[in-house]
Amino acid sequence: MSEQESQFLLILFGGIFFSLIMSFFVVAMVILHRQRQVQNRQKLDQIKAEHEKTLLNIENEIQQETLSHIGRELHDNIGQLLSLAKLNFGSVKPEKQSEGKVILNQIIKEVRGLSKTLNIDWVESISLDDFFKQELGKIHATGFCETSFENSLENIELTKDQKLVLIRVTQECLNNAIKHASPDKIEVKIYQNGKGKVIRIIDDGKGFDQTVKSNGSGMTNLKKRMETIGGEFQLTSFVGKGTEIKLQLPN
């Protein structure tokens, strides 16, 4: 074999080897990329499953809250009205009879209202404005404390998921205020800032020391729930100066 032929073969095999290396490189890049895609898809599926689980938990809690509310209403409100109606119908006086009819109509109206709330679809149909008015109205009706509501936004459009989370978080915040703060007044304000829509729940109750670690995971859960809808949960409280909760929704 002449020198030129051997050099030709060397170049040929060198070229084939080089082509193989390059092909291996491309294949390795594609395989690495596909592996990352699979891992990412698994992560996304996991996050999606957690998100759906969170929403399911929220729906269950709303249902439970609703059932507790219905139980309280049946006992405190409708039960009392039924007893009053029984007394009135038991009287022979015609004015008591007509009073009893009025009370009966009121009972029918209350029961209809309660039955509507048993269906979780009320979340979809209710606006945020009406929901806050309803919740604050309930608190005010008990005589527990004063309430006020300010909304500077018209037609707040939210997805079903966002509404579910906001309703649950708000219910928890209001329940916590009633349970722990003993406020004279609870205010709710809705407005727009640079980042998006803001809901502020302010009470003038006892307040608490934020630096002291809590045994419960309530605040952490509320924060996580807001994060599932891309929102933020901020709490500020000082002893003797009340508590302010700020729920930030993205644009």
Binding site: I11, F18, M29, H33, R36, N40
Partner: protein
């Protein structure tokens, strides 16, 4: 200078030059059919720049050689500098991170400064075989390709991409293949031409065919957009 001899010129123009011209014309036609929005894409503008520049300087070099004029300066200036910079800009256009894009700008700046110093100091001549400039531009181009592949396997932005149908992947891969396969040939060109002419004519086909393949890829990328708009068929994603 010999009398202008077109016969010799056409004798020397082979499949290589003809294919480069065909790809350039197809690319120009495809580019003219693009919408205004598509024409704003940096990668497409650089692709058409490479597609047009390469046949221009190859034909110019062939013409000069048919007139017995030393044509090394054509390759040194256009291939060694302009085209190498266009390749680096093409890689830069597909990079996602700002810091990496700035790094490529630095590479281009360094390349030009070092080349200027080498020329002004007389270490290299504009009409020499260009091995030092080839060495320099290959290093910077390969580093730029490395930045792309680093982003490709680490950044989440690339997760939604199908690499087998992605122009940026094939452009970077093509650039990497072309420069790494041509590197040893260009830096040993003077030696091979002087001592082993047979081997020189053999190995010079490698960068030529790599150039043809790469120009075909660029042409396909440009032409695929009007095909996608008209026939709703995506050959390669730009």
């Amino acid at each position: 200078m010999d009398q202008f001899n077109l016969d010799l010129f056409f004798e020397r123009v082979g499949y290589y030059q003809w294919l480069l011209v065909v790809f350039a014309i197809a690319g120009l036609i495809g580019y003219s059919l693009l919408s205004k929005e598509s024409k704003k894409k940096e990668s497409l503008n650089l692709s058409i720049g490479i597609l047009v520049l390469v046949p221009l300087y190859e034909i110019a070099a062939t013409l000069l050689s048919s007139l017995s004029i030393v044509n090394n300066w054509v390759y040194n200036v256009f291939s060694g500098h302009f085209t190498a910079i266009l390749f680096m800009l093409l890689i830069r256009s597909v990079l996602k991170k700002k810091s990496h894009r700035e790094l490529v700008n630095l590479f281009i700046g360094l390349f030009l400064i070092i080349s200027l110093i080498l020329h002004l100091s007389g270490f290299v001549h504009y009409n020499d075989s260009g091995e030092y400039i080839a060495f320099l531009n290959t290093i910077f181009v390969l580093f730029s390709c490395g930045l792309y592949f680093l982003e490709f396997i680490t950044m989440d932005e690339f997760l939604a991409v199908n690499p087998l149908r992605e122009f940026s992947f094939w452009a970077s891969t093509g650039t990497l293949f072309y420069f790494s396969s041509s590197f040893m040939i260009y830096i040993s060109m003077k030696y091979l031409y002087t001592n082993h002419l047979g081997i020189y004519f053999m190995v010079i086909e490698i960068p030529r065919n790599m150039t043809l393949l790469f120009n075909f890829l660029l042409c396909l990328a440009i032409v695929s957009l009007p095909i996608k708009e008209k026939f709703k068929l995506e050959i390669i994603h730009v």
